[in-house]
Structure formats: C-alpha cells, structure tokens
Amino acid sequence: MARFSPLNWPVVRQLTTPDRFGRGEAVTSRQTRDLKPRTATADRVVQSVCPYCAVGCGQLVYVKDDKVIDIEGDPDSPISRGRLCPKGSASEQLVNAPGRQTQIKYRAPYSTEWQSLSRDKAIDMIAERFIESRRRWWQDTDEHGRPLRRTMGIASLGGATLDNEENYLIKKLFTAAGAIQIENQARI
C-alpha cells in the first residue's frame, strides 16, 4: 500500500481534476485502476459469428492457454455493431458448460445404459450400418420400371445450425448413396 497522503483524498482529486462530479477518475481506487479485463490477457482473439439466430452478429472469441475465456460482440460488424443478445453473450458456455459432452456414448439394442466406444470404432459401425440399410431398402425402379436408384432406409435431420461446407458434404454423400430423406429445420 502506498503511504497515506491527503492528496489522494477523493474530494481533493475531484477538485483538482476535470472530474468535478466525482463520477470517474477522481473516485477510482488504485485497486480499480489496476484491474484489467480478462480479455486483455488472451493469447489470441478470433473473429467468428454467433451460432444462434440468423441475424449473424459478429463475435470476438478470446482464447488463452487453448481455452475459450470469453466471447464478446465484434464492434466491426455492420450487422451487430458490437452487440450480442443474452444467448450470444452466453455462447462461451456452449464451449465450456459442464453439461457439454466430449465423449462418444453407445446404447446397444435393449440396453438400459450407455457404454463408451472409441471414435474409430463408432464411425466404422455407423458405416457398416449405413451400407447394410442402404442395401436393405434399395429401390431400383418404380412400378412402371422407371429408374429410382435410391434407398428409403436411411434418413437425416439437421443442418440449419451447421456450416454451408458441412451441409454440402452431407448432401453430396447422401445423394451419391441414393439416400433422399434428408431434411432440416428449414422445413419446420
């Protein structure tokens, strides 16, 4: 602590600085002056876009030690001009909330419990089921002999929260596989 000095009295500072009404600098303690926003020590700031509604607000993602420490509005965005709503402001918790899952879970037929599974094994099992269901419900032609070249055994729902590049790959793969029942929130 600095030694006491009458010059540090807020009222003196109030009279000797432009802050005559004592609403800023004059009444700021050293402790407050020394405070820094937690974003100031971020290792990097990454420009992003809010993942909730379709307004498309700009976000600044603050990362420290490979952890997201905060997400704030991007003042450069002409759409949002730095603002975020309650959901956008809470989006740091999308990354860090305790309920977020980071491990694969598998429920076997008739089982009452989850079990764990490696990612490699899970994707392999899904690929096998994909191929089998595709064959099982394959339709070569309709009742008039016109080509259909499709499977009705596989469906998908989702995409409105995904990236364009992801939707593109999903549509591309499913169409090549002949799986037509592919939908997303835009229909809802």
């Binding site: 809010c50 309650p86 899952q101 037929p109 593109y168 790959l169």
Partner: protein, 915 residues
C-alpha cells in the same frame, strides 16, 4: 430496415427473438419511422412499437387481404411501379375461376385427391394456343417446394413458353375483366374492414390506423417494410400469408427499394444456408430441384426447370446443373453419359421430415442421423417423433449435449407413462459429440443471404468433431468398404469426388470445400482457377461448381466471406463486409429502385439507377440487373435467356420478368391467397363456406388426431386456441440453451400465458399450475396471468388464446432445466407448398392443477378424445362436403359452367379462342 418509413412486424416477435437485428428497427424509429406490431400477444416488440394490434392466430390473410382491398379501392396503389414492374396487365386464361365463382375453391380442384390441377390458372397467350392443355400436372401432393425459392419458373414441364412476356396477352389499361388487376379487385372485394373485425378481432379504428400508416408511407418518397418469422410460415396457409404480403408490397411499390421489402427473420445461424446448399429432400444446391421419377433423362429434367427459350437467368439452368454434376463426379461425368445425371436418385412424392417420421412408425426406415437438431422436443407432435425413433434399427445423434432425442429410450415421456419399456426397444443409439462454432472454420449464411466466414479458434475437445470431419470420414469408410464392388448402384459413391486436403490435425479443409462450392475452371489457361461469376459456367464440362448462386464467393482466389474491414462510420450498405449471394448483391431486385426510365423514384430513395452517359446501371449496390441493359431496351421475340430481358424486367429470376400479383404457377393451393381457418379452430370461416384449406396436407393416422372445429360436435371440449413461441433466453428445442447455466437461470421454467379473463373462467391462480390437453397430449405449465393476452371477440363470441414457449423437454441428461414440451400438444398437418407443419395454431382445453403422472396421463388425453368424439376422420376431409348447402352450390356452379363454356366439352378446334 433502418431506411424504412414504416415497419409492420407481423408473425414475429423481433425484439425478443432477433434482439440485435431489432436495433435497426429502433434506428428507423429514431429517424421518425412508424413501427406497428401485429401479433396475438403483447410482447417487448409491441412495447417498443408505436402501436400493437392484437390479432387472432391464423387470420392474417383476412387482415392483409383487406389492406389490399383498401389500397385498390381507394386508388392508393403506386401506378407507375405497378405498370412497369408487375404482371397487373397480364390476361389470365378464360377457364380460370376464382374463389368468388366457386365459393371458396379455385378452378381445377379435385375433391377426390384434394389437389389442384393448375392448368386453368395460366396466362392467356396471343397465339391462341391453349397452353393449358399441355400443362400436365406432375406435382405430387404437397410438392410445391420441390421447386424451392426459384419456384415459379416453368416448373411444370411446359418449358416456360407460357410465361414469355411477348406471348402473353396484356391490357395496359387494366380494364379487361380477365387482367390480373381486375381479378385481384374482385377477389379481394369481400375482404373488408368489417370482415377484419369479425374474423381477426381487430377494430375498424385499428385497421384504419394500419391502412393509413402503410399507404402514407409508400410511394416515390417513402417506403414501408414488412417483417415476419415463423408466425407466418407455420400454418397450413403459410406460403399464402407471405404471398398476400408480397401482393400488397408490390401494389405499394415497396419491393427492390431501400426501406422496403418483406424481411424473413430466420431463426438459425445458417438456416438460409441450409436451404441454399440444402439438406432438404427436394432440392439440390442452388435451388435446382431433385429430379422426379418422370424426369428420366437430363433433357427431361432440364425441360422441367427452364426452357433455354425463356427469359432471365434460369434459362442457363443447364450450365448450373452440368457444373454441379462435374463438381460431384469429376471425370466420371462426361457429355456421353449426360454428366452422370443417372447417378442422381429420383423422387416420387413428398419425402419431408413428417412423411419420414410416418415411414419410421411403419418400420420402413432403419437409420436416422440427427444433426444439431432435437426432434423429440422441437418438431410438432413430439410423441410421434419419439415413437418413430423407437422403431429405428440405429440412430446417430450428433450434438453438444445429451438432448432428449438422444435419451428418449431411457427417460422420455413414453417411458414414464409405461407406453415404452427400455428393455423392449431395439434401437441402437450412437451419441457423437459435436464441435462448437468456434472449434471449426466455415460459413454461416444469415437471414439476408450474407455469407460470413468463421475462423477456427481452437480444436474440439475429446471425441468431439465437426460435421465436416465426421461426414468426410464416414464417406471414406463407406467407400473403402465398397471398394472393388462391381454393383452399379455403388458407382455414384465410388466415383464421387471425395478428396479434400487435410489440415495439420487431419481434418478436411473447409476452405477447400468452399472453393468447390464456388467452382473452378477445369481446362484451358485458367485451369484450376476459381470462377468469379456463374456467368462463367459452361455446359461443355470445362468448368465445375457445386452451387451456382454462391459462385463468386472465392472470386480472385480470395475468401470473400472472410472480408471484415474495420468499421469506420455508418455506411448503410457496407459493401465490403463479407459476401452476399448472388454476386454480392445486398438488395435483391434493386432495378425496381429506379423508375421505368431508370431514374431514382426520388432523391430520398435513390439506390440503383441508370447512368445514361456511362451507359450502365450504377448506385450504392451491385445492380441486380444486366449492367448495360438500358431501361428502354426491348429485345425482340427471338431473344432468349438474360438477353431477352427488357429494360423493365426488374424481377430477373421470373420467367416473365415481372413481380407477380397473381401466380399463374408455382403454388399448389391457389394463384391468389384465400382465407381458410386452421386445421383446428373454434371459429367458423365466414369468408367462404370452405372451412379449412382444401389443399392442405394431412396425415390421417390413429396417432395423429385432430380436434373438431367451429360448432361441430365436440369442438367445445377443446375450446381455446393456443400458439407457440420462443423466448430471448432460449433457442428452439433447448439443445443450445437448457444446458447452459446462464440462460437456464434467466428462464428456468415452462409456463403458459393466459389472460385474466381466461384465468377467471377456468379458475386458475396466477403462478399456479395448469394442465393443457389436446387430442395428442396433456402437458403442464406454470400460469403467467397477464393482460398481455387479450380475449378477442370473433364472429360475435369471445375467443381466448393461450401462449406457450416451446423450449422445454422431459428427459435429456444433465440439462440444467427441463419441463413439459409444448410441441407435444401439436398434431401434424402441413402447408401443401412447402410441407411445413401448422404449429402456430391448435385447439386445447385448460384446467387448473398439475397433470396426472404415469398411465393416468394417457387416460386423461383419451377421456377428452372420447368426450369430443374424435376419430381418425375428424377434420381430415379435404373439403367440407358434409355441408349440404355448400355441396349443392358447388354442383350448381359446376353445372352452369359446363353448360356455359366448359373447355373439355367443346371440340378441339374451337379451343382457346375468345368467347
């Protein structure tokens, strides 16, 4: 929106659901604009507006139709704009009969199928050919959306010939009784302020205020903007609600102009993108339709999209299709095999999400991927969704949290009621943790078509991975397992271009995928370089591109979506920020912001105009028009494609270049909007005898029952209307909000909003519990008794409306908050154009107290159904033939028509001439 002089928000609670976007409404207001909120509930949007007008859910066409009538009968329409840019002067086929003539039906209706044959809706042609006879309807029921947003483009196999402006008979005086303009006048004449009062519960004074506000704020100097959200789309008449607004905005000259338009406020970060580059059954990227089984060859398919002879940019559809096929199948797509067109699977009818759920229930779907969506809570009729999933062989749920769609097999409502037993459920469930938006790079397309790139901030933790990574990997595995197969059905998978560069973590590079979407030259000097515009796409295989409307996003080899200049001031257009499809145009159809001669309509509203010295269009935006096409250009009849556009064809994607006041094709439930009541409504339709939309798509099954309507026996068992909505602090089915402590604390509990009058009527205390019962489910909610909900007097009797947020669900692991799901109350009935369900209106009962637990809950629902006499047929007939009076009138009118001028009974050689 900031440039508007009046903003009407209807079918949206923008301040709460798009709070940051709403700053532009506030900005407009600060500049003097008038803000009007039309909504069943008084919300924060209403609180900020100049006026809130309370409307009965589902009656929007009555209100908007009356505004059209007001504009037409008081000569408030923008004459120069309407004559230059709309189809007001076009003549319609003499066989067309309006709802005025057929008591609530348009011509071409088949009561047996519940579908329209739209042949008689077409334009009248100069040649005298009866174009309509060639107009074979090939749309399956509810297949309007197979044509996507590009819908009205020669979609029915008629090669667009019937839409070429030069062939269409017109009357520029607008006096001919079969001009679009006169048909419009007759059609909307019955939509009066009196009817609005009767059906919407809106007073004449409020109607007058609204009518004055929009007409005084439209014209050369001023513009009015409409904004809507799913309050308009989630109805059996959803597409027609928006059509009604479009007619009104065209009449007022508010399309293609700053501060005008109809803003669709979409609810997901990339729901626009997932329509453009669709994960939808009926579309290929860029609004190209998925081929129907009838399109046996590439030529058949292209004929169904557009004719090379038609005008506008759809005439080049062949290039867009060939480039897509080349992007997907590379060297395997050649001119000799029609660019691998045969690799595309074919549709035979609607395969929308609700049809697929029905197929699951029937046991004909094995596997289901659920990707960042929570149908157990977010889709209509949650029970149907969950029971459907219980019939699957395998289910893959990819999400951030263990949502209800992943855990219904152990903790869903059906487990709790004893309907399902975990040990009996065969379904294998794979829960795959997803990457968040900051753990992957890629683009979202926001609600105004702006594509914005997100940079990756860090790697996903643990097993979490992006969809890009997962599906790329899945594709590799499938191809590995099929390698060496000589089965022709595997060729499309094996020939698929599926080589993307990997980053240092072994994940596919999303920028490379975006480059494929953009397209590139395959041969020649520029081989490998990105295309800069879809005009560079060729039909000879020398170029490729995955989504033509996104071409240009990688122009010059630069990721245009990642442009983020520092903001230095207020620029209303911000042309340098990110990238907007198509061709970086910020405002669509902006040619209409100038008059017929190409001059700004006024100094105040100047935006894009013709610079006669330079001989080109210029202004604040990329002109949405051929850059050097003069306003007075009038190409001859031999011109085709973009070259056929005249200087007045501001609506360049329409086959006739005009804004459609009347839709000769493209919609399956009528060329004009007509009001029908929702599937479930305590109100009788007094506009026409026809109660419900005759073309709506129903799913009549014992597990999808409807309440009786109007005064039908049993309707009083479910006497109240309910509507569903969102809150600021939650996101749809809660997957991205109920697992977050901050948001859950802000909105912890499921509730319903009811008026003090309704609370008194059924004996509910404020903050007490209530049970709501529909023919599908019973749910409980805390009661928010508030005069924000107002009883309305409709048809002389009081109608109560109940508001229900739909974010909560039962089950799900580690959710911070849970509660009963409002969507469980809903049934499934759909708009026939787009197959979107009617989730904004339903009928229910409400009683005080919590719902019963266990099996007693099912028994309560069954008891109400018994009391109401609900059967699988209730409300399912396409038209109300049970009404004898209606049927007799119908027969009489039909008989008159047959005697007078039925086109099918006159000899062929007399067809088509003037009668």
């Amino acid at each position: 929106m900031a440039n508007a002089d009046c903003i009407v928000i209807q079918g949206s609670n923008m301040a709460e659901c798009h709070p940051v976007g709403f700053q532009w409404v506030s900005e407009a207001k600060a500049r003097g604009a008038r803000i009007i909120h039309v909504d069943p509930r008084f919300t924060r949007t209403s609180a900020v507006a100049d006026k809130h007008i309370s409307i009965r859910v589902g009656s929007d066409i009555v209100l908007l139709g009356a505004l059209i009538n007001h504009v037409l009968s008081n000569e408030k329409w923008f004459r120069e704009y309407v004559l230059a840019f709309t189809n007001a002067s076009a003549l319609v086929n003499e066989d067309f009969r309006d709802t005025e003539d057929l008591d609530g039906l348009f011509s071409g209706y088949d009561p047996a199928t519940g579908r329209y044959d739209n042949a008689s809706w077409s334009y009248r042609l100069k040649s005298g050919d009866d174009e309509s006879t060639a107009n074979e309807p090939q749309q399956g029921p509810g297949m309007g959306d197979q044509f996507g947003a590009a819908g009205p483009v020669a979609v029915d196999g008629t090669r667009g010939d019937g839409l070429c402006r030069d062939e269409i008979e017109t009357d520029e005086t607008l006096q001919h009784p079969f001009t679009v303009f006169q048909i419009l006048k007759r059609h909307f004449a019955r939509y009066t302020p009196d009817l609005v009062q009767q059906m919407c519960g809106i007073s004449e004074a409020d109607f007058d205020y609204l009518a004055r506000s929009i007409t005084e704020n439209s014209g050369r100097d001023r513009t009015t903007c409409f904004a809507y959200a799913v309050g308009w789309t989630q109805h059996t008449m959803g597409a027609q609600f928006i059509r009604t607004a479009a007619i009104l905005q065209l009449l007022l000259g508010n399309m293609g102009r700053p501060g005008g338009g109809i803003m669709a406020l979409r609810g997901h970060a990339s729901i626009q993108g997932s329509t453009d580059i669709p994960t939808l059954f009926n579309l290929l990227p860029g609004y190209l339709p998925m081929p129907m089984v009838t399109a046996g060859t590439l030529t058949d398919y292209l004929d169904g999209i557009a004719s090379p002879a038609q005008k506008g940019y759809w005439a080049n559809a062949e290039a867009y299709v060939v480039n897509l096929l080349k992007a997907w199948w590379g060297d395997a797509a050649t001119a000799d095999n029609d660019w691998a067109y045969d690799y595309l699977p074919r549709l035979t009818g609607p395969h929308g999400t609700y049809q697929t759920v029905a197929a699951m229930l029937d046991g004909t779907v094995d596997g289901y991927f659920v990707l960042g969506q929570n149908p157990a809570v977010g889709s209509a009729h949650g029970r149907l969704q969950r029971l459907g999933m219980a019939k699957l062989k395998w289910l893959v749920v990819r999400d951030l949290a263990l949502i209800e769609s992943a855990t219904w097999w152990k903790d869903g409502p059906e487990i709790q009621s004893g309907e399902l037993r975990t040990e009996d459920i065969e379904t294998e469930v794979f829960f795959m943790p997803a990457a968040t938006h900051v753990e992957k790079a890629g683009t979202f397309t926001q609600t105004q078509r702006m594509v914005q790139w997100r940079h990756q901030a860090l790697q996903p933790p643990g097993d979490a991975q992006s969809e890009l990574d997962f599906f790329y990997e899945l594709g590799l595995r499938i191809r590995e397992k099929l390698a060496g197969s000589d089965d022709p059905r595997d060729r499309p998978l094996l020939d698929l271009t599926w080589n993307y560069p990997l980053d240092e973590h072994g994940n596919p590079d999303s920028a490379a995928v975006l480059q494929e979407i953009n397209g590139r030259f395959r041969t020649g000097d520029k081989a490998g370089q990105p295309l800069s515009s879809y005009a560079e796409m060729r039909t000879d295989g020398s170029t490729e591109g995955g989504c033509w409307i996104y071409t240009g996003i990688y122009a010059g080899g630069v990721n245009q979506a990642a442009r983020r200049p520092a903001r230095t001031g207020h620029d209303p257009v911000n042309p340098d920020w990110a990238w907007v499809w198509p061709a970086d145009r910020r405002l669509l159809y902006n040619r209409a912001s100038a008059d017929a001669e190409g001059r700004p309509w006024s100094e105040r509203k100047r935006y894009v105009w013709w610079d006669s010295e330079q001989g080109r269009w210029t202004g604040d935006d990329v002109p949405d028009f051929p850059a050097t096409l003069a306003p007075d250009a009038r190409p001859g009849p031999e011109a085709t494609g973009p070259a056929a556009l005249s200087g007045l064809d501001a609506f360049i994607m329409q086959a006739d270049g005009k804004g459609w006041l009347y839709a000769p094709r493209g919609l399956v439930d009528g060329p004009l909007p007509a009001h029908y009541e929702a599937q479930e409504s305590p109100v009788r339709n007094t506009v026409y005898d026809q109660q419900r939309s005759p073309a709506r798509v129903t799913l009549a099954r014992p597990d999808n029952l409807s309440a009786p309507s109007d005064d039908d026996p049993g309707a009083n068992v479910y006497p109240y209307m309910f509507t569903t909505y969102r809150l600021t602090e939650h996101h749809t089915a809660g997957g991205m909000s109920r697992w977050l402590p901050y948001l859950s604390e802000l909105q912890p509990e499921m509730f319903c909003e009811i008026s003090p009058e309704l609370a008194a009527e059924v004996g509910i205390e404020p903050y007490g519990w209530a049970t709501l019962i529909s023919p599908r489910a019973a749910i409980e909610a805390k009661c928010l008794v508030t005069d924000r909900m107002r009883p309305l007097v409709v048809n002389g009797r009081t109608v109560h409306q109940i508001g229900l947020p739909y974010h909560w669900g039962v089950g799900g692991e580690q959710a911070v908050v849970s509660g009963d799901s409002a969507n469980d109350l809903l049934g499934v009935v759909m708009d026939p154009n787009v197959l979107i369900q009617e989730s904004k209106v339903g009928s229910c009962a409400i009683v005080a107290g919590r719902r019963p637990r266990g099996r007693a809950r099912l028994e309560l629902v069954a008891e109400y159904r018994r009391r109401a006499g609900v059967t699988v047929d209730t409300g399912m007939r396409p038209i109300d033939v049970e009404r004898g009076e209606h049927a007799m009138r119908q027969d009489r009118l039909e008989a008159e028509r047959v005697n007078a001028d039925d086109p099918w009974v006159v000899p062929d050689d007399e067809q088509g001439g003037e009668r």
